[in-house]
């Protein structure tokens, strides 16, 4: 179970990363080495072990349904690379 170039390309597409040929080669080798290393976890029997997604035993953390001030729109739009007429602009999205 090692990672190939096609899989690296697929993962790059999922992550929206455009790789150069050189990067694709390098990442393929490096990810293969890292995955080979992390597979040492298979030495451990984890049958019946609950996964830990959170280390703290916190539950039901909520906030009251209260409206708080929003940001000034000008500030929000100023952060954006392109804005027009109150909207943040991106190249046309095709549905």
């Amino acid at each position: 179970m090692t990672i190939g170039r096609d899989e690296v390309e697929h993962v790059a597409r999922l992550a929206r990363l455009r790789l150069t040929d050189e990067e694709r080669e390098r990442f393929t080798a490096q990810l293969a080495a890292i995955l080979d290393y992390v597979r040492k976890l298979n030495e451990i029997d984890t049958a019946g072990v609950e996964p830990t997604a959170h280390v703290l035993p916190l539950r039901n953390v909520t906030r009251p349904d209260e409206v708080r001030p929003s940001l000034e729109r000008e500030g929000v739009l100023r952060l954006a690379p392109r804005a027009d007429d109150g909207f943040i602009m991106v190249p046309r999205v095709i549905e």
């Binding site: 999922l14 490096q30 990810l31 976890l41 952060l79 046309r92």
Partner: protein
């Protein structure tokens, strides 16, 4: 005496007692930054004028008899991944070019409320991914003890700035050792609090289930003081624990008579440098001399920590960093042909190789067909590692280990092989995965004159015990008083 040699609490006391003004002290720090930072590159931005103005205002308030906070008039630096309103938060990444945070992180808000002056933001590995501060898009930071060596990472800028006397204390962030390892490599003290102790609100996420903000300073008392200021529950962070750390500084001097210090053999295995091992063993001996009981403990899953960490942390990071896409803020690739082009080119141009590598790894371990074999498996091993600690803490109160397997390594020494770099976190990752508090304090020097760090870990929310033990050791030694040599003046201009 050079005022920049004052520790944080000494500076605060001197100001309260009228021995030094905030303006004098802040100016001395800024002068030091001006002189040495061109060599060390600890800061990515210094708020010189505003810091001086704030210092003058602090002096004026003090003269008017207004009650100041615990850190009134004392400058502190903040890592580049912690938001301060109206300031850039860059995470040492090109992709956040131009991003100005519209709000204060809770930790920054609390520093300000305590009267601290934010002196500037410090360099780091890009998005805190690295152990040497070499993945920064803002250039490397150098180790004040040897500028040809790394300061550690990812909070290398914060640790180097504190070691080089540019600032008495700085905030860092720790996901797998990013406070403790640079503190060790730079010969200063650093604390990673219990997960949930310090609010993550305003900390730019790397791996949300592991990230914690914590202090780096030149004394354990300073760490205690800073944790009292920045710690405590915050309603804006769902993972923030109830309650507040109180009386930490006050409890420091109670000594360690009867304290049980656990020594896990797994942390002294192959891969740990002989000099490091000797220093740490000697410091454990010192703690025994101070009245502690030394016991052997086992943490059998330690050899799996790095593998577990690099699955969990990268999985979370792949999702956390998806937002950097050129739509709302930061970098956008020029003239995108269409939306996919905008996404892919912005991320290709804006993110560095280590960040890309980790996003790729994290995406892979979560993807269909691999999720259970890698991600879920790692979460289960994480459970086993937590159990290891629960059992070990049944036999001891603190666990002592090296902070890093070696002293500071040379710039460029480990950049070619990511796995080798990842293994430099081998001693710090376990505490991160278990969410427990851990501290690094100076415990010796190698023959080459490089600092070595002692790591102590404790049960969740027992920062009091941890700080007391570290303080007792620190007070019995003088490693923390050593000062790195002044650097030869750098060629070229200042910051």
């Amino acid at each position: 005496m050079d005022p920049t040699d004052l520790t944080l609490h000494e500076a605060a006391e001197a100001m309260r007692g009228g021995g030094i003004s905030s303006r004098e002290y802040t100016a001395a720090c800024l002068e030091r930054v001006r002189r040495v930072d061109p060599v060390f590159g600890a800061f990515v931005e210094v708020y010189g004028e505003e810091a001086l103005e704030a210092a003058v205002a602090a002096d004026r308030r003090r003269a008017a008899g207004e009650p100041g906070g615990a850190l009134a008039g004392v400058p502190v630096a903040v890592k580049d991944n912690i938001c301060a309103a109206g300031r850039r938060a860059g995470c040492a990444s090109k992709i956040l070019d131009g991003f100005v945070a519209p709000y204060d992180a809770t930790a920054v808000e609390r520093l300000r409320a305590a009267g601290a002056i934010i002196l500037g933001r410090t360099n780091m590995d890009e998005f805190a991914m690295g152990s040497s501060t070499e993945t920064s898009s803002r250039g490397v930071t150098r180790n004040p003890w040897d500028p040809e060596r790394v300061p550690g990472g990812s909070s290398g800028g914060s640790a180097a700035a504190v070691a080089a006397r540019e600032v008495p204390a700085a905030l860092g962030t720790d996901t797998g050792g990013s406070i403790r390892q640079p503190a060790a490599l730079c010969g200063v003290a650093g604390l990673k609090p219990t997960y949930g102790r310090v609010s993550r609100f305003g900390l730019v996420a790397f791996a949300s289930s592991l990230d914690q903000i914590g202090p780096i300073a030149r004394s354990v008392r300073d760490l205690a003081l800073l944790l009292e200021v920045i710690g405590g529950h915050d309603g804006r962070d769902s993972t923030s624990a109830e309650g507040s750390p109180r009386g930490l500084a006050g409890g420091l001097d109670r000594g360690i008579e009867g304290l049980r210090v656990g020594v896990p053999e797994e942390f002294f295995a192959a891969g740990v440098d002989g000099e490091v091992r000797a220093s740490v063993e000697a410091s454990v001996g010192r703690m025994r001399d101070l009245g502690a009981a030394v016991v052997g403990v086992r943490l059998p899953h330690t050899p799996y920590a790095v593998a577990t960490y690099y699955i969990v942390a990268t999985a979370e990071a792949s999702s956390n960093l998806a937002r950097y896409d050129g739509v709302q803020y930061g970098l956008r690739a020029a003239d995108p042909r269409d939306l996919p082009d905008l996404y892919e080119r912005t991320r290709a141009e804006g993110l560095g190789p280590e960040v890309k590598r980790r996003i790729m790894l994290g995406t892979y371990v979560l993807s269909a067909g691999y999720h259970d074999a890698y991600y879920l498996k790692a979460l289960k091993v994480r459970t086993l590692m937590r159990r290891d600690f629960e059992e070990a803490f049944g036999r001891c109160d603190v666990i002592a280990t090296p902070t890093a397997p070696t002293a500071a390594f040379a710039l460029g020494e480990k950049t070619a092989d990511p796995l080798t770099m990842y293994l430099s976190d081998i001693c710090t990752i376990s505490a991160s995965l278990a969410g427990i508090p851990a501290i690094s304090v100076p415990c010796g020097f190698t023959a080459a004159g490089l600092p070595v760090g002692l790591q102590l870990m404790a049960r969740p929310f027992e920062e009091g015990t941890l700080l007391r033990a570290a303080h007792a050791y620190e007070q019995a030694t003088d490693w923390h008083r050593r000062r790195p040599p002044d650097p030869a003046p750098a060629r070229g201009g200042g910051v």
